[in-house]
């Protein structure tokens, strides 16, 4: 256990005032000087008369010999102005005697490691609750490192359930600097296995650390990926990365399960601490694959990993019977496409050559043919909406068109040859591409344009990459680390939190100072007018 919590003020304590730059308060020492500068002196306006006895009745008062005049009353106003400015410059801040505590909870996967009684997270939450129970006036805000922007409120049963349910689902990170408010103490509940979670922004450190970690051995599945076999569309190549996140060498066996059938078993022997080992297997094409380590350890959550292979499935294309055979053959030859009948209900896209007559609500490629094939004139012009990496290398001499497309105002011409649009994206809710290419005529040249165009058209209409797709689950290299690192808390916690509203107090003081300054200016103007009056007034 590291760090010490600040002893809170008693409930009902009065908020105190602190200063960000207290040296400015030394300027208040000038107030006596202001008073002294406004002191009354023996020298005042004099009028010389021939006989003083004549003016005995005009006497205002009779100061004693040596007595000074009373000070100019304006000194109070000016002293107030100076005092306000100095106090504003000193940055007054209200300090709140209540202790604000932000409890940061490390909800990484390693926190689910089974310890003696429960998981690390469970034990840590229980310990944190007992510590917070000693601070009844503390204002606690619970936040997880995986979702720091979502405040969970006080550490009650509901919060504990929420944290336990969401642990290990997202990769955590150190708290954002914007949430590391200086008016709050920051406690950290962690196992200390992930060093990146302890590197807080600006060199900040938690004011108190609740560290729960006993188990130091763990082997986990860090990453599982699959791709379609290059030569056999019915086979997936699977790559698994096994990592020893503990402090001792381990031996494990990995069992792959494709769909509902248990498949290959691979032994991983002599996996050294902190190292990884890759396991490659081929499995029959299926909807999912699971890899599991045997035997399981204290952190079973990382001993099993599931990968959804649905993104790697072949897309069924409803092909119009009137389509050229070369075009249908290109669809069949595509590794990610499967030819289906035009009325197939499970098709994911349609290829319409104008003979089916059926209106599809599927993404559709419509091949428009209005006459004989001709060689278009001009250079290929790709739309700026098509990224450079997605533009296929086509030989214009082997391209043929059999129709003239008329794009509407909302349509997008994706490819044109010269001034002739050849591929047009029609506006509408369902993705639809019209092309005027004559695929039958282009097949004669036996060039690569036909399969390239077929792949480009279906990737565009389905809006996904079809070739060499990879399915992947990656927990990250830190997900399997369980060995605790030493965590050091901040040396001294503040006794009270300072609200970040010092500028508000300063602004208020400056506003008052502005009012006093206006008062002073008005008084000076009035005095100036008063002094000018005798010079302009007629003599009595």
């Amino acid at each position: 256990m590291a760090g010490h919590a600040a002893r809170p003020f008693a409930p009902g304590a009065i908020a105190l005032l602190t200063f960000a730059a207290p040296l400015w308060l030394a300027g208040l020492a000038l107030l006596p000087a202001i008073r002294w500068l406004h002191r009354g002196g023996p020298h005042r306006r004099e009028v010389r008369v021939s006989r003083l006895a004549l003016w005995a009745d005009a006497q205002a008062n009779r100061p004693a010999v040596g007595e000074r005049r009373p000070p100019d009353r304006a000194w109070r106003r000016r002293a107030l102005l100076a005092a306000l400015l100095f106090i504003a410059l000193s940055g007054p801040q209200r300090s709140d005697p209540r202790v604000h505590i932000t409890l940061w909870i490390d909800d990484s996967l390693s926190m689910l490691t089974r310890e003696a009684q429960s998981t690390r997270l469970g034990e840590g939450l229980a310990r944190a609750r007992s510590l917070l129970a000693e601070l009844p006036s503390a204002d606690v805000d619970v936040r997880t490192l995986a979702e720091p922007w979502h405040g969970l409120g006080a550490l009650d049963d509901a919060t504990v359930a929420t944290v336990l349910a969401g642990a290990g689902r997202h990769e955590p990170a150190a708290p954002p600097v914007a949430l590391l408010r200086r008016d709050s103490q920051h406690w950290l509940l962690t196992d200390g296995a992930d060093a990146t979670l302890l590197a807080w922004a600006g060199g900040r450190r938690p004011d108190r650390v609740v560290q729960v970690a006993g188990v130091t051995r763990n082997v986990g599945l860090e990453r599982l990926s699959a791709r379609r076999h290059a030569d056999d569309p019915g086979t997936f190549d699977v790559l698994l990365q096994v990592t020893n996140g503990g402090t001792a060498d381990e031996d494990r066996a990995v069992v792959f399960t494709a769909g509902s059938l248990e498949g290959t078993r691979v032994d991983v022997v002599g996996l050294r601490a902190g190292t990884s080992q890759r396991v490659e297997v081929s499995i029959p094409a299926s909807a999912s694959v699971r890899a599991a380590l045997q035997p399981a350890d204290a952190l079973p959550e990382d001993d099993r990993i599931d990968l959804d292979l649905a993104p790697l499935r072949r897309r069924r294309i409803a092909v119009d019977a009137g389509c050229p055979k070369a075009l249908a053959a290109a669809v069949v030859a595509h590794p990610a496409l499967v030819l289906a009948r035009a009325d197939a209900g499970d098709a994911e896209a349609a290829l319409d050559c104008g003979t089916s007559g059926a209106a599809h609500d599927l993404p559709t490629i419509r091949v428009v043919a209005q006459g004989s094939a001709s060689r278009p004139r001009g250079a290929l012009k790709w739309s700026s909406a098509v990224p450079q990496s997605r533009r296929s290398e086509l030989d214009g001499d082997r391209l043929r068109v059999a129709a003239h497309l008329l794009p509407q105002a909302a349509d997008v011409v994706l490819l044109a040859i010269g001034d002739e649009p050849v591929i047009v994206r029609r506006a509408g809710a369902v993705s639809r591409l019209d092309t005027s290419f004559d695929f039958a005529a282009m097949a004669v040249s036996r060039g690569p344009e036909l399969p390239l165009l077929v792949d480009w058209l279906f990737e565009t209409v389905l809006d996904r990459r079809l070739l060499d797709a990879i399915a992947l689950v990656d927990r990250g290299p830190r997900s399997v680390l369980v060995a605790p690192l030493p965590v050091v808390a901040a040396p001294a916690a503040p006794t009270s939190a300072v609200l970040p509203s010092s500028s508000d107090e300063a602004k208020l003081l400056l506003l008052i100072a502005l009012l006093v300054l206006s008062w002073e200016i008005a008084a000076l103007v009035r005095q100036g007018l008063h002094l000018r009056a005798p010079a302009t007034a007629p003599n009595a």
């Binding site: 003083l52 004549l54 003016w55 005009a58």
Partner: protein, 299 residues
């Protein structure tokens, strides 16, 4: 010096002086028939050979005028006074204290102007005239003399007269030892001093044949142009008073000044001092002629 130039410029011009001398000639001659055919002689003490009366000796009196017989009889020094001759001695005492310098030295200029005119007229009639400028001491003294050349000296003294801006009090008594018993004294002052200089006037009255008091006043000295709160500073004593200006203050000062004038006038009437109050806004010729006329009628 600006104030010097101001005062020099304040001296009356030669035509003004001559005109005034002609007008005042009859008032400055001691023996004069009141009416054609009559022989009413106004007897006044002065410089002459006809015995007038006796009085107690005062320091400064000529020893040769002591009447030893009366002195032996009364057991105290008694001097003889003689009836004033048509040609006599005059002492012109001009206040040069700091109170005369306030408000652009308007009172000082007026005093200089009047003293110069009176000196010219007296010298024109053959009197001997001396001029003393006094503050808390005798600041300037032009000894007794006669003739138009003497007026030039007096004019130079008066032109150079510059009342200090502050700190110079009014002590009329310092002039007493310069005035001999057979002379007539003419004091031009604002009399802004403790007891309105009555004590000094009384003492001076005992030392001269006739005493004239011309109070110079300025309406500005009882009006405060400044508005607000300030310190009033007495230019003579430098004492201060924290005051607030206003109509009330001006009215009070005017009342106090009038009360001072009344007290001074009462004293002069009791003491046989010819007194006039002269607001400098009024012309000096009419003021001085009126004063001499009133003084003449009282004799």
């Amino acid at each position: 010096m600006a104030s010097t130039a101001l005062i020099r410029a304040a001296l009356p011009s030669e035509p003004e002086l001559q005109s005034f001398a002609r007008a005042a000639a009859q008032l400055l001659i001691d023996r004069q028939a009141r009416a054609p055919g009559a022989r009413t002689v106004a007897r006044r003490a002065g410089v002459g050979i006809q015995h007038f009366d006796h009085r107690d000796y005062a320091p400064g009196d000529e020893v040769r005028h002591i009447d030893w017989r009366q002195t032996a009889r009364l057991r105290r020094p008694i001097v003889r006074r003689f009836e004033s001759e048509s040609v006599s001695d005059w002492s012109l005492l001009v206040d040069a204290s700091s109170s005369m310098a306030v408000h652009d030295a308007a009172k000082a200029r007026a005093a200089v102007r009047m003293a110069a005119a009176l000196a010219y007229a007296l010298l024109h009639l053959g009197h001997r005239v001396e001029v003393l400028a006094f503050g808390h001491r005798v600041l300037a003294h032009c000894p007794r003399g006669r003739g138009q050349h003497h007026y030039a000296e007096i004019a130079r003294l008066l032109a150079a007269l510059q009342p200090p801006q502050s700190g110079e009090r009014s002590e009329l008594g310092v002039c007493a030892r310069h005035v001999h018993g057979a002379a007539s004294a003419f004091v031009v002052s604002d009399f802004l001093a403790d007891d309105e200089m009555c004590r000094d006037l009384g003492a001076l009255r005992q030392r001269c044949t006739a005493l004239h008091a011309m109070q110079v006043s300025d309406g500005a000295e009882t009006r405060l142009r400044e508005v607000g709160e300030f310190d009033l500073v007495d230019v003579e004593t430098e004492s201060r008073l924290h005051a607030v200006s206003g109509e009330h203050a001006n009215a009070s000062a005017t009342r106090k000044r009038a009360a001072m004038t009344d007290r001074l006038q009462s004293f002069c009437m009791r003491s046989g001092v010819a007194f006039s109050d002269w607001d400098v806004s009024r012309p000096w010729q009419a003021t001085l002629l009126g004063h001499l006329l009133r003084a003449r009628s009282r004799c």
